[in-house]
């Protein structure tokens, strides 16, 4: 049975957008993903892809939607149906992060703005268990929910033109890791030597929506060790089933 009141809109001629109440909420996120799985399993029409975000699903069909009303009715009834959900395993991933000043180039500014010491920032950032809401922005960029309120800070008014690969950063109420070099307006507080996107791997991005992430603070020498193991393809990420 559907839990939330959803709205359905056409999005161009071959996509439908389904919207939940617009907020960052774990329950909504779980419902979005569960409906996504239902659609992928039960859709009568051929689907190119389903994009899930915090509180929406976008279904892109192969063919043009002629009678959008019928498609929406089908989706509505699917949402209300009890379907045996295939249980996919969820994992909690431990991500090593080095908060050394050489990487955490905005630690000081963030500390000044939010009246926190460097070690308080690190403690607050690495003690939380984050939920992966969805992946977007860049290949392998995880949208993580759960950042401690004391760490919230508005995005920089002047974005950096270049943020290094692996940068761990905070923007607004969010935190995330840049999987590749990019421009970016978030406060950079550390760096992870892990690769978040690898086209050669069977799963190019190891994490998926509704998995969990925990950051583990490591020193410079541990960082270098992990980095060289990652380069050799020998590093194994720690994970536990949740």
């Amino acid at each position: 049975m559907g839990v939330f009141r959803l709205t359905y809109k056409s999005y161009g001629k071959s996509a439908i957008l389904i919207e939940w109440p617009s907020r960052i909420d774990k329950k909504i996120c779980e419902d979005v993903i569960s409906f996504k799985n239902k659609i992928l399993k039960n859709s009568a029409k051929q689907i190119i892809q389903v994009i899930n975000t915090y509180s929406s699903l976008t279904i892109i069909y192969h063919s043009t939607i002629n009678i959008i009303y019928d498609d929406i009715l089908d989706l509505k009834s699917l949402y209300e149906q009890e379907v045996d959900e295939e249980i996919t395993k969820k994992y909690r991933w431990e991500i090593p992060v080095c908060y050394d000043a050489q990487f955490g180039i905005d630690l000081e500014e963030l500390g000044d703005e939010n009246e926190l010491t460097k070690s308080e920032i690190i403690e607050l950032h690495s003690s939380t268990i984050y939920t992966v809401y969805f992946i977007g922005f860049l290949p392998g960029f995880l949208y993580l929910g759960g950042l401690d309120q004391k760490l919230h800070i508005p995005r920089k008014s002047n974005p950096r033109l270049r943020v290094e690969k692996g940068s761990v950063a905070i923007g607004g109420a969010q935190t995330g890791i840049y999987p590749s070099i990019s421009a970016g307006g978030w406060y950079v507080i550390g760096n992870s030597p892990i690769s978040f996107f690898n086209v050669k791997a069977k799963e190019p991005c190891f994490a998926k929506a509704s998995d969990e992430i925990q950051f583990k603070s490591i020193g410079l020498s541990a960082y270098n060790n992990v980095q060289s193991e990652v380069e050799k393809g020998k590093y194994k990420l720690k994970k536990s089933e949740i």
Partner: protein, 282 residues
Amino acid sequence: MIRVIAPGFFTSIQDLGRLGYADIGVPNAGVMDLYSAQLANQIIGNSPSDALIEIALGKVILVFEKQTIICISGANFSAKINEKPIDLNRSVLVSKKDVLSFEKPIYGARTYVAVKGGIQTEKVLGSRSFYRGVTQQAILKKDDILPIEDWGNSKVQKNASVKIEMEHFTDRNLLVYPGPEYELLSFKQKTQLRTVLFSISSDNNRMGYRLEGVIENDLPSMLTSAVLPGTVQLTPSGRFIILMRDCQVTGGYPRVLQLSEMAINKLAQKATGDKIQFKLEV
């Protein structure tokens, strides 16, 4: 093999794109002007999913190291083989050592070189489309080698050409549908969207086209949600961005319009300073 002698300004390999990986943040990519690319492939009997060379302006020189059949569709950049002008939208037999060159742009912004059997560069996540961060290369560079199949005994089909509609390159009107946030616009904003003749700013590329001109904007920001090629976003400054094939999969600006597929193709043939007008179909 095709050897790149001069890569031009922005030349890449593209096919229908990388569909089905939005889940992990991977953009579609793929040919900007699907209409012209499909035409080029079709004329020489290729499959619609075969990869082609997409050229966006610049002096491009390619040398063929195998006999094959090609077709060029899309923008007219004065294509020549061994200095002799060749027709667009027609299959052309090229021999080993032939030099294909492009120079003066006559109309359009992107042209496609289809080669019999398709360009055989590496497939990454199901597609040969270049995209920085997913494929090793984002653009072609001097001395690149593009593998192609053997078509040693190729014969050109006579009359295998089509007449194209020049409207595809000259028409200012872009057919659009209301986007998910269209209804949040005021009556005045909606009217402006339909009546203003926008021009394309110099900030235009495979990711998106930023338009010149500002409209009043007091829309609240929204939670990050899906965006598609052809989505028109209204930024806080009141300027519009039309997302194109390389756009990211999610975004946070209100999505006020959605271009039709054909409008995306038409826009792909426009360049800095060109004018456009939205034709809304509700």
